[in-house]
Structures are given as structure tokens and as C-alpha cells.
Amino acid sequence: MEVKLHDIGEGMTEATINAFLVGVGEQVRADQPLVEVQTDKMTAEIPAPANGIIKGFNVKEGDTIRVGETVLIMGSGKASTAAKRASSATAQKTRIMASPFTRKLAREAGIPLEKVRGSGPAGRIMDEDIHSHLQVEPPPQETPVRTEADSIPFRGRRKQIASKMVRSVRTIPHCTHFEEIDVTELLAWKRDVPDVSMGAFFIKALSICLKEFPIFNGRLDEEQECVHLQHAHHIGVAVDTEEGLIVPVIRHVEEKTLKDIQKELKALTNKALNQTLTVKEASGGTFTVSNVGPLGGSIGATPIINEPEVALISFHKTKKRPMVNESDEIVIRSMMNVSMSFDHRVADGGTAVRFTNRLRDFIEKPGILLMEMI
């Protein structure tokens, strides 16, 4: 029986083998985790489809394989003595057929030999294999050589993000509108509740706005010609990691307190940074928030919707600015801009403006939020 890499999350096409959790010859039970894999977003375990024995692995730790490729072979019955002898995790052939000179070529080109398919006798890696591998897949430049242009890899998560963004922009007629919000009072309010971050407050306030404007928590079904207005508020939070953007999801925000949201936001952000998110934690969002304020600098953006969602909102840097108050006085206020992109097929500008107006009210007068608490 072949155990293959199956689609364990939305849109995944490939995954890297992190670790084998069983050895060759080992007896396993149905649903026992066999292999840990890392997709561009999360780590997951592939379970055993049935009881049986591990006959052998078709891949090595560190390999990146596509959905549908066979990871290992399982057999039925009990482990034999001979198989047990080779049951340690290291019981896999480790000899790479390549001469030291060929290995040097690979080293200098930054190519791991494990990734090169040998064309020589018995799969021996020849110099030409390194050259042709380089043409197919140029290696990442550790220290970019100053030529006419530097190149960085466009693979893995970056490529995944790219294809998702392209699909989103091609499918959804994006419309973005901007608003400025006075956060002076929210900052004052926060001084009394240091355990709650601005981010958690925004997420809670958004959830209340979504109750009033469920269209932005919807999902367009063109085939059925309807928009499904979802009751659950699963809010995705864009996290900027070294590997690229990841969006862990806080589920059922509508049922959670500010403290719950704060706790979960912190835990998920850490997991995203450590690349330990599970499939569930990084999928199934209904609305996305991007809080770029902490990065500083940005006053506006045209964020791309995390399809199949309908809208996405970005919170930008808070700055002290001179503002004119109702008494026509110039006062110093802490101002923050927000950008909200929405799917113009399902909502109009007016609705979006009303949505952000409501959000603005909560942020400018945090006390109002009390009225909405369950």
C-alpha cells in the first residue's frame, strides 16, 4: 500500500518532509502519525491509513514533494525479525554516488546533492547533472554576487503567496477605500488595560461590525448565485514572517472576550513565526486583518483580498497630527489610517464606508464597545 502526500490544506501543492516518525520494519496502527511534513504555512502529520508494517520510504527527510507523490510503502502483517534489525530511523541508504570533484561542483553552485538526479551508471551524479540542474533550478544565492542584478529564490511560500494574490486580483474586482481614525482615547483606555493590545481591540470591534454588516463576512458562490453570510467570525490575522506572509485564524471571535482574543492572538503569532501552525490554525478564515502599524511608516495601502473572503482591512501607523476639533481649535491627536479592500461584486462603496464608520466609532470612543458586549 502506497501512502501518498494528500492535500491537507487549502491550495497546498507541495510539502517538505520534516521527519519520519516511524522506522522501516516498524508495526504501525491505523491513524498513527507516520511522517511530519511542512507546507508553506504549517506543519502536519500524515497518519497511517490502516494497520501494517513500514516497508520503506520513497523520500528522504528534507525532500520537497508534490501532492500525490508516494511518501512510503506499507505492507500488511507483522514485522519480521529481519525487518526489525533495520528498524532504526537511520535505516535508509545514505550513499550518494558522486566523485569528490562532482561534489565540489555542487557545493560551489550551492546545490544539495540529494536534489540532483544522477544520469550516470547506476544513478551516479555526473558533472553534467550539476550543470543541467543549475539551468533548471538556479540555487539560492547565499551571498548575492554583484552582477547586473541580484536574484533571490522565487519558490515555496513566496511562490504560493504569488499565485494566490494573482488569482485573487484576477477573480475579484477589488475596491479599496481609506479612512482616518482618531485613536487618542483608545490609547488612553489601553493604559488601564495593559494586558490587551490594540490588535485584540480592533479584532473584537471588527467582529461587532461584522454582525451589523454580515456581507463582509460572506462568501460568494457564483454557481449557486448567492452569497453565504457566515455566522462564525473566523478572523485571519496577517503575520509578517521571515519566510513571508502567513495568516493564522482566530476562530469564533464573536464568542470570545478581549482577553481570550489577546491570548489566542499572541499564541498564534508565535506559532506563525516558529512555523508550527497546524492546518486548522491557518485555514478557514472569513475575514482578514492586516495590522501593519507596528512596522511603522505606512499611511495607506490597497490590500489584496484573501479569497474566497469578501474583504480585508489594514491598520496603519498611528501618528500624532494637528487636527481641527469641533470648536475649530487645532489640537494634537493620535491618528491612524485604515485601508479596506472589498469585493465590489458583493458590496458597494457606501456599505464599506458605513462599515468603517462604525468601526471608527468603536475605536474613537472605546466605551461604546461596552454596549455591544455579550
Binding site: V24, R85, A86, S88, T90, A91, Q92, K93, T94, R95, I96, M97, A98, S99, P100, R103, K104, R107, E108, A122, R124
Partner: protein
């Protein structure tokens, strides 16, 4: 005043001086700091003195054969005082050679004790003088320290370290050698050849393929070395000699001798050279490095016994060259997979690659052959017919996975084996080339031929054709 340097190498042992010379060859301005003698423990106290002793013992054993061939000489005797002056002269000569090389490459050599003051500064103490240096790159090559089993008094005149054993002034009558690696075997075999009654107490098993281990034990026994493996020493008492109580699988035993030689283990000493002031990432008490010798601190490199792996000069030398290359912009790699293991007993042991058991554990279906040196004509005429060669290969592909030998010339012969392993050679790659005749080299060729039962000089095949 702070003096500025590009590359400072701390330690002039085999790793350090190779790194300094390679970096200088590649155009770097190099400063080498050594607190003792250039050449380090290897040249001055370890490898070279031990090889002089083992070579002397081996040549001494040949006298019977030489007389049998017609060489006329008087009764041979041993003059250890003369051996001592020979050794000192040779070490001095080799050391002068290295110093000359360093000079010719323009390496600045400073005699003093180095100490890191920060991640880019080193202080050097030399007598009453203290100098301060700021470096761009530094290679830590300070070697290791020998650690001996606790509970045994090293003060006794009858208990010696392995280094003291190499420079004894008389042949001990009854020698007990306790150790864990090749050093203990070499000392035991050498003194047995020179006339001592020797008991070798090994901490573990002999670290070789089982066939080689069997043959080693047989030959050591033939040379009157009693070998006991997997031993734990319980107590040592000395009163004009030594009495060692030990435990092994056979139970508790006692052995008496005139001297006990304790062979230590080389461990990294991170309290030296101010290393404990640096936030160096370590593993298992040694400095963690990447494949080129980079530590967790940019600009600080480490090689040799302070880094993980066996405490061998062979490793330090490779690491020194690779680190120096990397500093000069080359891309290198330290890969110890086919590190040969050598024991300079008589006949010597030399192995590279995986044992039969190791290859099986790695998931290979293996085919092995064994070829005795007595089937080799050249070994026969030299009367050096003890020992054998064992080849481990993969069934079906005949990929060579391990070459293990015990026999005259094995140390030289293993180089062909290491090259073959590095080239990922298969049986045909060993049997196709032309071999000098008559020579011991042919034994290697025939050992590989024996994988298919085709060794010409074997009257009785040990194994049938298997492929």
C-alpha cells in the same frame, strides 16, 4: 595600544599550522599564536613519539626474518636511551621543518598565551609582556585536554599516562594497558614486541568490523598480549608494582604488573584562551561549527579537538585547511564519512567505510569477502602473511561500502580504499586497473575479486559466488 590583524590562528598544532599555511598560501596575512612548541601535542607528545615507538618495535620483530634471509648481525638488544635521543632529534627536525614553512610563507608566529577579551579582540601574554590585538578573523585551534578515569592515583611511579608510556627508559616486565582506542592497542603491541608481558584492558569492544576484531585478537594473543574487552576497572593498588581489579563479562578478575598505563580521552577545554567569555554555541562540551568551521560568532572559527568529532590530527588538519579556504573565499566542506581508522600495531590495522553490521543497519543488503594476506605472494616472501582484507559491498550493485584490513602495508593500502569510497567505486572499479606485481596491492584487488569468488590465489574459496 591595539594592534590590528586580519587572521589570527590560536594554536600551532597540526590543525592550527595547516590552517595558517593554507590561509597564507591563499594570500591572507596570518598571525599564529602558540604557547608551547609548534607542532602541538601531535608532533611533540602524541602521534610522532608513538609512531617512533611502534616503528621501532615493528623493526625489532623483523630481526628473525632478516637473519633467516641471510642478514648477519649480532644478538639484537634494546637501548632505550638511544631511542630517546633519536626521537628527540626527529621531533626537533620535524618541528624545525614546520617553523621553516611558516617563515617561508610569511606567517607571523607569536609565542605566548592567547586569551579572547571580546568577540574581536585577543590579548597575548608572553612573559611579562601583554599585547592587545584586534582581529577580523580568528581560528580557535587550541586542541583538547586529556581526561583520565577518576579514582586512580596518577602520582604513583607505576601508573603512567599514555604519553609517559611512550618515553619509558626501560622495558617494563609486566605491563597493564587500560584504554578505549587505538593508542592503547599500539602501546600494548609495541611493548609486547619489545619483550613485556602485556595485558590490554579495553573499555569497550575493539572498534572495528567483527572479522577484523577477531583477527586482531588472534594476532595480539599470538604476540602474547592478553586482551580483555568491555572492562570496568574497580580498583588499583600499587606497592612496588600494580594490582588491578576489574570487572568484565567473565566476572571480577585481578591482574598484576610492574606498570599500569592509563590512556586518557581528549576533551575540549573551553576554560582556556578566554573562550568562556565568548557567547559561543556549544554541543556536548565542544564548540558547535558548520561544515567549514564557522562558530556562532561571526569571524570566529574553530577546528580540531575543540569541535565535535574524534580527537584526531587527521580531522584537525582537514578542518584547518577548509576553514582557511573558507576565510579566503573558497567553498569547502569537512566530510568525515570515509575517515580511515588506523592502528600502528604489527601488523597494522587500517579501515575505511562501514563495517558489515553498520552497512546492514543503514538499510543495505550486503555481500562481503575476506582475503588472507597469506594468499599474496609478496607478503609470503616477506614472511608477513598474518592478517586479512575484508570488503563490504552492496548486493546487486557491487557498490563498495567498506574496506577493512589488518596486515603488513595496510596503512598505505587503505589510501586506495579511501579514494575508492570517495569516488563511490564499485567492484569493477577496483578490479579493472593494473596493479604492480609482485606487491601487497594485489591483495586488495583479489579481496575485491573474491566478492564474486574469483580471487585467483585462493585455493579454497571462503564464500561461493554470490552475484
Amino acid at each position: 595600544m591595539v594592534e590590528k590583524r586580519d587572521l589570527m590562528v590560536i594554536g600551532g598544532g597540526p590543525g592550527g599550522y595547516h590552517a595558517a599555511l593554507r590561509a597564507a598560501q591563499l594570500g591572507k596575512q596570518v598571525t599564529l599564536i602558540e604557547q608551547g612548541e609548534i607542532g602541538g601535542a601531535c608532533l611533540n607528545e602524541g602521534c610522532i613519539p608513538s609512531k617512533i615507538l611502534t616503528h621501532f618495535a615493528s623493526e625489532f620483530r623483523k630481526q628473525g626474518h632478516l637473519q633467516k634471509m641471510g642478514m648477519v648481525m649480532g644478538e639484537a638488544s634494546i637501548d632505550l636511551a638511544k631511542l630517546k635521543s633519536f626521537r628527540e632529534e626527529k621531533i626537533k627536525g620535524l618541528r624545525a621543518g614546520v617553523e621553516g614553512l611558516l617563515r617561508s610563507r610569511g606567517v607571523e608566529v607569536i609565542n605566548g598565551t592567547a586569551s579572547f577579551l571580546s568577540e574581536n579582540r585577543i590579548g597575548i601574554e608572553s612573559g611579562h609582556q601583554f599585547s592587545l590585538f584586534e582581529f577580523k578573523q580568528a581560528i580557535v585551534a587550541i586542541g583538547g585536554k586529556m581526561v583520565y578515569p577518576p579514582g586512580i592515583s596518577m602520582e604513583s611511579p607505576f601508573v603512567l599516562t599514555e604519553r609517559e608510556a611512550l618515553t619509558m627508559t626501560e622495558i617494563p616486565e609486566g605491563l597493564i594497558v587500560s584504554g578505549h582506542d587505538y593508542v592503547a592497542i599500539e602501546i600494548a603491541a609495541a611493548y609486547a614486541a619489545l619483550g613485556s608481558t602485556v595485558t590490554l584492558l579495553m573499555e569497550g569492544r575493539l572498534p572495528f568490523d567483527q572479522s577484523i576484531e577477531r583477527e586482531m585478537k588472534r594476532l595480539l594473543k599470538k604476540q602474547k598480549v592478553s586482551v580483555v574487552t568491555e572492562v570496568t576497572i574497580m580498583s588499583v593498588s600499587d606497592d612496588g608494582g600494580v594490582e588491578v581489579d576489574y570487572e568484565s563479562s567473565a566476572g571480577t578478575r585481578q591482574v598484576n604488573g610492574t606498570h599500569l598505563v592509563l590512556c586518557g580521552k581528549s576533551e575540549a577545554d573551553l576554560s582556556r584562551a578566554g573562550l568562556d567569555r565568548l557567547p559561543l554555541e556549544c554541543e556536548g562540551g565542544k564548540i558547535k561549527v558548520d561544515g567549514e568551521g564557522r562558530t556562532s560568532i561571526p569571524g570566529v572559527w574553530a577546528i580540531g579537538d575543540v569541535t565535535p568529532g574524534p580527537g584526531l590530527a587527521i580531522k584537525a588538519i582537514k578542518e584547518g585547511k577548509v576553514a582557511a579556504g573558507a576565510i579566503a573565499g573558497d567553498k569547502g566542506e569537512v566530510d568525515l564519512e570515509w575517515l580511515p581508522a588506523i592502528v600502528q600495531m604489527d601488523p597494522p590495522v587500517a579501515c575505511a567505510g562501514w563495517s558489515e553490521e553498520e552497512a546492514e543497519n543503514r538499510g543495505y543488503e550486503v555481500v562481503c569477502s575476506e582475503y588472507p594476506f597469506r594468499a599474496n605472494g609478496f607478503a609470503g616472501l616477506k614472511e608477513e602473511t598474518d592478517g586479512m582484507i575484508k570488503i563490504v559491498s552492496e548486493k546487486g550493485t557491487s557498490l563498495i561500502l567498506g574496506i577493512h584490513m589488518i596486515g603488513s602495508g595496510a596503512v598505505e593500502l587503505i589510501s586506495a580504499g579511501v579514494l575508492g569510497l570517495e569516488m563511490a567505486a564499485r567492484a569493477e572499479d577496483f578490479t579493472f586497473p593494473l596493479y604492480p606485481h609482485p606487491s601487497s596491492n594485489e591483495a586488495l584487488m583479489e579481496a575485491v575479486e573474491e566478492l564474486t569468488g574469483h580471487a585467483v590465489h585462493l585455493q579454497r574459496r571462503r564464500k561461493k559466488a554470490v552475484q
